[in-house]
């Protein structure tokens, strides 16, 4: 794949969205991304999206496929000293590490930044964690919407006068945005490492990323203790009137007005959503339907570059941006567990048949999970 990150190799310990999607975005820019799992610890997305209980179920999860396309897969037991040795050997051939384990997990395996930096001082090591690598809450765990709550976003989300709201498990908003930011910072650090020959440790707190999106709210609250911080409904400071309105066909549309119009409720209630949106747009008023997933799937123009199909015809995640007007072609579908273990160990470490067989027989490498649930 031709791209700005051609020649960059990524050792990807990323799991679920925050980590695995950061490395996926690096792959989309041309990096060679090697996803590391083990039979004893597979990416939870393989389980969360479980479609059936038949053999090979772990290779059929849609959320895993969505997030890990364009990567190669290597399965290696990180608790085995032999597996740890192989990782340290691989680290010498890599430029970037992405991980979002709980703090301390890789350190205990002898695979934290301090250890890998000894193997390769050029390494850019991106540690993405709930709270960051320092501070009293560094060992805290979180899952998606935990951070809607603790970052401040939930406090200003919700119906007027009611309790705060989280984005929920089908959005897990804070996990999504961290990869949008972390990818750019990793690229910046790769540029620096190319220039200086020195890598670095990048410490991302997912909670901080979510709070960063409320920068002006934090600044305003710091300046004025009386500043109002409660659920905002669909309103927005400085906007005269905007909300979701129910139409005659039962569907909701979102409308933003420059000057207040109390008749908008009745206007929408009297029309089907399509007609209401068209009429409002014709008057120069911003309006759109509240799309659901099926509608997004059906509208190729709206989906733009965000959805693509892999070589097997499966729908997977595309790009959030265009480069030279284009989205991406998926070069490879998401890897099966351990699909490229032998290929990678031959190519990068020069292992032969005997060595590969030994690793397999001793259970260091594998292609089947040792667990059914995570």
């Amino acid at each position: 794949m031709k791209g700005p990150l051609n020649g960059v190799r990524v050792l990807d310990f990323g799991l679920l969205t925050a980590g695995a999607n950061t490395s996926a975005m690096l792959a989309d820019l041309g990096a060679d991304v090697i996803k590391i799992e083990s039979g004893a610890y597979i990416d939870p997305f393989r389980v969360v999206g479980k479609m059936d209980n038949d053999d090979g179920w772990w290779n059929r999860s849609p959320p895993f496929r969505f997030t890990n396309r364009n990567k190669r897969g290597l399965a290696l037991n990180l608790k085995d000293p032999e597996g740890q040795r192989v990782i340290r050997e691989l680290a010498k051939q890599c430029d970037v590490v992405v991980e979002n384990f709980r703090r301390g997990v890789l350190d205990r395996a002898g695979l934290g930044y301090a250890a890998l930096k000894e193997c390769n001082p050029r390494l850019v090591f991106a540690a993405i964690s709930s709270q960051g690598d320092t501070g009293p809450e560094r060992m805290n765990v979180s899952f998606g919407s935990t951070l809607d709550a603790t970052s401040g976003i939930a406090s200003i989300t919700g119906y007027e006068g009611e309790e705060p709201r989280i984005s929920g498990m089908d959005v897990n908003y804070p996990d999504q945005i961290v990869s949008l930011f972390a990818t750019g910072i990793v690229i910046t650090a790769v540029m620096e490492a190319r220039r200086s020959g020195k890598g670095c440790f990048l410490d991302f707190s997912q909670r901080e990323v979510a709070s960063f999106t409320l920068g002006e709210e934090i600044l305003a609250a710091a300046a004025d203790p009386a500043y109002r911080l409660t659920p905002r409904d669909n309103g927005e400071a400085g906007v005269v009137q905007q909300d979701a309105y129910r139409c005659a066909d039962g569907r909701w549309i979102a409308v933003t007005l420059d000057s207040a119009d109390p008749s908008l409720d009745a206007f929408c209630a009297a029309r089907d959503s399509g007609a209401a949106v068209a009429a409002l747009l014709a008057r120069g008023i911003a309006a759109a339907p509240c799309s659901d997933g099926s509608e997004l799937l059906a509208d190729g123009a709206l989906a733009g570059a965000t959805l693509v199909r892999d070589e097997n015809g499966w729908l997977v995640k595309g790009l959030p941006y265009r480069l030279d007007g284009r989205g991406i072609t998926i070069e490879r579908a998401a890897p099966e567990l351990g699909q490229h273990t032998d290929e990678i160990l031959r190519e990068l470490l020069g292992y032969g048949d005997a060595e590969l067989a030994r690793l397999k027989d001793s259970g260091v490498t594998s292609t089947t999970p040792a667990i059914g649930d995570v």
């Binding site: 990150l5 820019l29 849609p62 969505f66 703090r103 350190d107 934290g112 090591f125 690598d133 320092t134 765990v141 899952f143 709550a149 603790t150 401040g152 939930a154 406090s155 989300t157 309790e163 989280i166 984005s167 929920g168 945005i177 949008l180 930011f181 750019g184 910046t188 650090a189 540029m191 020195k198 440790f201 990048l202 707190s205 901080e208 709070s211 960063f212 409320l214 002006e216 934090i218 600044l219 710091a222 203790p225 500043y227 927005e236 400071a237 909300d243 979701a244 933003t256 309006a287 339907p289 799309s291 997933g293 123009a301 989906a303 570059a305 965000t306 729908l315 941006y321 007007g325 649930d373």
Partner: protein, 461 residues
């Protein structure tokens, strides 16, 4: 007339370059804010059990920092804050200090009125690059960027939104409706590495054909051919399917608080910019980058399309039917969040024998009996504080989320320990804080430098 303004383009650029060189020198000498601004709490003692890679010899933990000076109208240029020394390896103290994007120059064009949601995205991408050291010159229309008047406002009447989104930039007012203004812009673009601008832009063809790599922010994907369609952030959260996911199923859909569509797009644009700069530096032709808010919202909301494709039915807002719900506690609210593997730990935490009921043994069972489940869970929270709930849940490995307001985060221990919120100097207010970039690079943060005042921008013109 035209000639003199052409010259003024050169003058602007010269001034800008010179100032930037001065700025970089200042950073190099680790000059910090005036002493009166250095009232920042030093780091608390490091946690004893620190086991990360950050032992002192491996790399430097962050120094006490979080200094920033803002409100440039009151703080002249010599109060530019030094960012922390992010590349300094303490074993080589003589190594010159630099910021990672210091060698790049960017122009951010805020053209004639565009929807504010696009402007916020452009400005955020420019801000991140500027905080990382890029020389970012913001082109404002006569009268200034309308964001300067957008809420929330500080008690002084200044826009907190503008100040947050324009840190570390310089600014100049140019009338891009005039031939001379466009000529000045062209000169500036001839010396920049990248240009950020919004669609529809009167200067789009200029931006796309200059030496600078174009980074374009739009509302809709190109396929929609909707450059002139009226737009707002709410409408984009709706169109991209995010609103459908939030609220009660029988009631109206809700948007996420803040400017999430704009900011997610701003983060995306920064990543696109970084990719373009990396290509330039690697000797490749840099790709033109285009970010649409509608695509970003859908990309963020990918589980809607993924779920619909996998099951034939779209996920949607579940409200009180959701496994994750917000429940009241003694001093506020807590989000109940847990994964499949954390269910046993949650049961041990709540320690109510009714949770052993086989109805709740599987995820499907819990979903089917969600109201009964929450009837058991909710009373446990009622007499406890958020702090107590968060602490005891974490001790059992359960990721409940105490809900904090931005005001409460000002005193949050974790944020204080990491100096995440940078102190901002102000002539009348006591203590203003704003988030720094949410990354520490070898233990160091990037303290934001003040946003440019309109007076400075007009003077530069």
């Amino acid at each position: 007339m035209t000639g003199s303004l052409l010259d003024s383009g050169e003058v602007i650029f010269a001034l800008w370059s010179a100032t930037n060189r001065v700025l970089q020198r200042r950073l190099s000498s680790d000059l910090v804010c005036r002493p009166s601004f250095e009232t920042v709490a030093t780091r608390p003692p490091q946690d004893e059990d620190f086991a990360g890679p950050a032992n002192a010899s491996a790399y430097e933990r962050r120094a006490p920092s979080g200094r920033a000076c803002i409100l440039p109208g009151h703080a002249p240029s010599d109060s530019v804050a030094a960012s922390s020394n992010i590349f300094d390896d303490r074993t080589v103290p003589s190594e010159p200090l630099s910021l990672p994007l210091a060698r790049f120059t960017l122009v951010e064009v805020n053209d004639r009125p565009v929807a504010p949601c696009l402007r916020l995205a452009t400005s955020l991408a420019g801000k991140i690059a500027a905080d990382l050291g890029a020389a970012v010159l913001k082109i404002e229309p006569p009268g200034g960027d309308p964001v300067r008047r957008m809420p929330p406002l500080l008690p002084t009447g200044e826009s907190a939104l503008f100040h947050f989104l324009n840190t570390s930039k310089r600014s100049v007012v140019l009338d891009l409706d005039s031939e001379s203004g466009r000529a000045s812009l062209q000169r500036l673009l001839g010396k920049a590495d990248a240009v950020l601008f919004e669609e529809p832009a009167s200067v789009a063809s200029l931006a796309r054909t200059s030496r600078a790599t174009p980074i374009e922010i739009a509302a809709f994907p190109v396929e929609m051919d909707a450059a002139t369609r009226p737009v707002s952030e709410l409408v984009l959260q709706a169109l991209g399917g995010l609103m459908h996911m939030i609220g009660e199923p029988a009631r109206k859909p809700l948007k996420l608080g803040g400017h999430q569509a704009s900011y997610a797009a701003g983060l995306t644009a920064f990543t696109g910019l970084a990719a373009a700069l990396a290509a330039r530096e690697a000797g490749q032709r840099a790709p033109a980058v285009r970010v649409s808010l509608a695509e970003v919202v859908q990309w963020v909301n990918w589980k809607a399309a993924s779920g619909a494709a996998a099951t034939g039915a779209s996920p949607g807002r579940e409200g009180r039917n959701s496994e994750f719900q917000v429940v009241p506690c003694r001093d506020g609210h807590v989000a109940v969040v847990y994964t499949l593997t954390q269910w046993p730990a949650l049961r041990r935490l709540i320690a109510d024998p009714r949770l052993e009921d086989p109805r709740f043994a599987t995820r499907a069972g819990r979903r089917q009996h969600i109201a009964a489940l929450y009837e058991i869970l909710t009373p446990w929270f009622a007499d406890k504080s958020r702090e107590e709930i968060g602490r005891t849940a974490q001790a059992k490995g359960v990721p409940f989320g105490p809900i904090f307001t931005p005001a409460e985060l000002l005193a949050n221990e974790q944020y204080l320990a990491r100096s995440f919120l940078a102190e901002v100097a102000h002539p009348t207010a006591d203590r203003l804080l704003m988030p720094q970039l949410p990354v520490q690079w070898n233990g160091r943060s990037f303290a934001p430098r003040p946003a440019p005042s309109l007076e400075q921008a007009e003077l530069a013109a």
